[in-house]
């Protein structure tokens, strides 16, 4: 998969502190993002949203003319692009409110640039995967839309569970996903006692995606903890 198309996304950044705006812009630019607009007020954010048509927004909660919660409501009523809250308000209630209003993620300041970039990339990957449905692994490609693995020119179908497990791994590509999170992705909330079934599914996925399933390079086991999916370019 070529992730460069995600770096072309138009990003709207809203915060009342100019220095913070400058810093986040520099973090994003350094990671390859080119199309960034900033706003210091909710009114300006609305105006930019109408003309610039952003594809992703980072919002502060405390703005001089309104709250970020009201702003997201107004934005979501007209536009449908992912939003990440980046705010100093770290109370659980604020987080729940933000997620309840349709935010895709909620980050509390202060933050490490690395973590901010990981979250932005994860949101963009999740939101715009349809634009580039082929995910490139070391030995094959996955087409999530068609639920297929393309290995050596052959199309191999994925079952629903295998698809869900692979999707959960892909959302966190390059990072460990716990056994429990994968069971949850395949069997729903609070799954107990599915560890052996998960292992069976992982084995079958490996047979489909790995060149040599007995020494996997794309889907790696982290003993006792979970699995990691290695995606090219990540």
């Amino acid at each position: 998969m070529n992730p460069d198309y995600l770096k072309q996304k138009r990003i709207l950044l809203v915060d009342d502190e100019q220095e913070l705006l400058d810093m986040v812009v520099s973090i994003l630019q350094k990671d390859g993002f080119q199309n960034i607009k900033t706003a210091k007020t909710a009114a300006k954010a609305i105006a930019i949203s109408e003309t610039y048509q952003p594809e992703f927004a980072i919002l502060d909660v405390m703005l001089p003319d309104d709250t970020g919660f009201n702003l997201i409501k107004r934005l979501k009523s007209t536009f449908d692009y992912p939003v990440l809250f980046l705010t100093a308000r770290g109370e659980d209630d604020d987080k729940f409110r933000g997620f309840g209003l349709g935010a895709d993620d909620y980050m509390v300041k202060p933050f490490l640039p690395k973590e901010l970039l990981f979250r932005i990339n994860a949101i963009l990957r999740r939101s715009y995967k349809d634009e580039n449905p082929l995910v490139k692994l070391p030995g094959c490609e996955i087409d999530f839309d068609r639920a297929e693995v393309i290995k050596n020119g052959k199309h191999i179908s994925l079952t629903a569970k295998e698809h869900n497990i692979l999707a959960a791994l892909y959302r966190n590509a390059g990072r460990i996903v716990t056994i429990d999170a994968l069971c949850e992705a395949a069997w729903g909330d609070n799954p107990f006692g599915y560890e052996n079934s998960l292992m069976a599914h992982i084995r079958r996925i490996r047979e489909k995606i790995e060149a040599n399933p007995s020494s996997p390079v794309a889907l790696i086991t982290i003993k006792g903890l979970g699995y990691k999916l290695m995606v090219e370019g990540k």
């Binding site: 502190e17 220095e19 913070l20 810093m23 986040v24 520099s26 973090i27 350094k30 100093a88 308000r89 770290g90 109370e91 659980d92 509390v108 300041k109 202060p110 933050f111 490490l112 640039p113 690395k114 973590e115 966190n172 990072r175 460990i176 996903v177 716990t178 056994i179 429990d180 999170a181 609070n190 107990f192 006692g193 560890e195 982290i222 003993k223 006792g224 903890l225 979970g226």
Partner: protein
């Protein structure tokens, strides 16, 4: 109202005991008094004694000197009435002149039962007549008239017992009626006093015998309520102040952290400068953790942190924390090993997932903070007796026995109102303890078998 019943029982007990004691005491006194009165109560015997000792010689009737002396000493006179003539044939010298010298049968019956001219008289039977002793006027009250039905005397013990029982019952009823008002007044007072330690507002009706007491209790309750309100207000203000400061510091710290982080990875800078930037990043991360900890600790301390427990698999929760640390890839000096037995896949507990994740994160972070040169961290979930145990060990510097003792038992400076210089350890462990305590669990701090520090959290297990 256990105490009111106890009070009634105690009152009735004391009353019955005192009644019984009073009756026994009265019987003893009566007995003693009667015994003390015995010498004077034997005039009939004295009369018989005189009759027995009066003998006849050639000169007439003679009474021995000692008896004569005794009679005189008691100012008692005596006569002897002959059976045949019904006349007085012998008399003592002190016989009053008004005493007749001859008697009819009806006179005899009269004097036996009563008096001769106001002198109480007692008779003794001699061989040929009757000896009559006359005691000084007003020395005895003779009451020779009454006679009782036989069955009355035969049933006397039963009657006395019944009367006693009826008396006691009557006293009891009178007591209950008389005290019911008092008890009625006491009951709300006792209830009020018992409710004082709770946080509810108390209002007792200020009526009845103990209205003054009720007033004072109401007043005390008002004072307590107002103090609680003040305390709560102060605690809220303090927690809000901490929350406000930590909020205000977040944005500036973001910039310090963000730019320093950029500088740290800027290849255009010298190695030395990048190291300096790394120190700034590290220290600002410490500050961020401190702000988060301070805020949460104050909220937990003042019960302002909502705890939303739900049934969770602790193995999954702790595993996620470990994975988050590994995924963050903060540095490679602190590798984390997952030591949970593979056979243990589920350990259920009712927990607030976010708070428990925070507690475990704090423990792992602590291992890193206290072993800057690096150490291995070992995380394990296991089961104890009705407990889920989370154990975080390291093979780092560890702590002395004294330090561990202090961590286990001394209050944190945030919770301590004295000698704060002795209590300075981080907030991380305090929060862990607070979170675990809020879940009904325990925190144990000790030496690790790996050579460093060990913290064991025990949380109640659910089936």
């Amino acid at each position: 109202m256990k105490s009111v019943l106890k009070l009634i029982r105690r009152f009735v007990g004391i009353m019955l005991l005192s009644s019984a004691l009073l009756i026994i005491l009265n019987f003893i006194l009566l007995f003693l008094y009667t015994v003390s009165q015995l010498p004077n109560s034997q005039p009939w015997q004295t009369a018989q004694e005189v009759a027995d000792n009066l003998f006849q010689n050639d000169n007439g009737y003679v009474l021995p000197e000692d008896i004569t002396f005794e009679l005189k000493k008691n100012d008692t006179w005596a006569i002897f009435i002959d059976n045949a003539t019904m006349r007085v044939v012998w008399r003592t010298d002190n016989l009053p002149e008004t005493v007749p010298m001859s008697y009819s049968i009806s006179d005899i019956a009269h004097l036996t039962r009563g008096y001769i001219d106001g002198y109480p008289t007692f008779t003794g039977e001699a061989e040929n007549g009757l000896v009559v002793l006359g005691y000084p006027k007003d020395s005895f009250w003779k009451h020779m008239w009454p006679s009782w039905d036989y069955s009355l005397i035969a049933n006397l013990p039963k009657t006395i017992l019944s009367v006693l029982v009826i008396n006691i019952a009557l006293i009891f009823i009178i007591y209950i009626i008389a005290n019911s008002r008092l008890l009625k007044s006491v009951k709300p007072i006792v209830g009020g006093i018992q409710s004082l330690p709770t946080e509810e507002t108390i209002h007792i009706k200020e009526k009845g015998l103990l209205s003054e007491l009720a007033q004072n209790i109401n007043k005390t309750s008002e004072i307590l309520q107002s103090q609680r309100k003040q305390l709560r207000k102060r605690e809220t203000a303090r927690a809000n102040w901490i929350a406000g400061v930590s909020h205000d510091i977040r944005t500036p710290l973001s910039m310090v952290m963000g730019y320093a982080s950029q500088l740290e990875s800027d290849n255009g800078l010298s190695e030395d400068d990048r190291k300096k930037a790394a120190v700034i990043v590290k220290q600002s991360r410490r500050m961020r953790n401190l702000i988060n900890d301070l805020n949460l600790a104050s909220k937990l301390e003042y019960n302002m942190q909502p705890i939303n427990p739900a049934r969770q698999n602790l193995v999954a929760v702790v595993r996620q924390v470990v994975v988050d640390f590994i995924n963050m890839d903060i540095d490679d000096k602190h590798p984390i090993a997952w030591e949970t037995d593979e056979a243990l896949t589920v350990c259920l507990a009712d927990i607030d997932k976010d708070l428990i994740k925070r507690a475990v994160s704090n423990l792992i972070q602590n291992c890193m903070n206290h072993n800057e040169q690096g150490c291995h961290i070992f995380v394990r979930v296991t089961t104890g007796e009705n407990n889920c145990l989370i154990i975080v060990d390291d093979d780092g510097a560890g702590a002395t026995d004294e330090q561990i003792e202090r961590l286990n038992h001394s209050p944190h400076y945030m919770l301590c109102d004295e000698n704060t210089s002795m209590q300075r350890h981080g907030l991380g462990l305090l929060i862990v303890k607070q979170i675990v305590a809020a879940h009904g669990g325990t925190t144990g701090i000790g030496h690790s078998s790996y050579g460093g520090f060990s913290v064991k959290l025990a949380l109640p297990m659910q089936e």
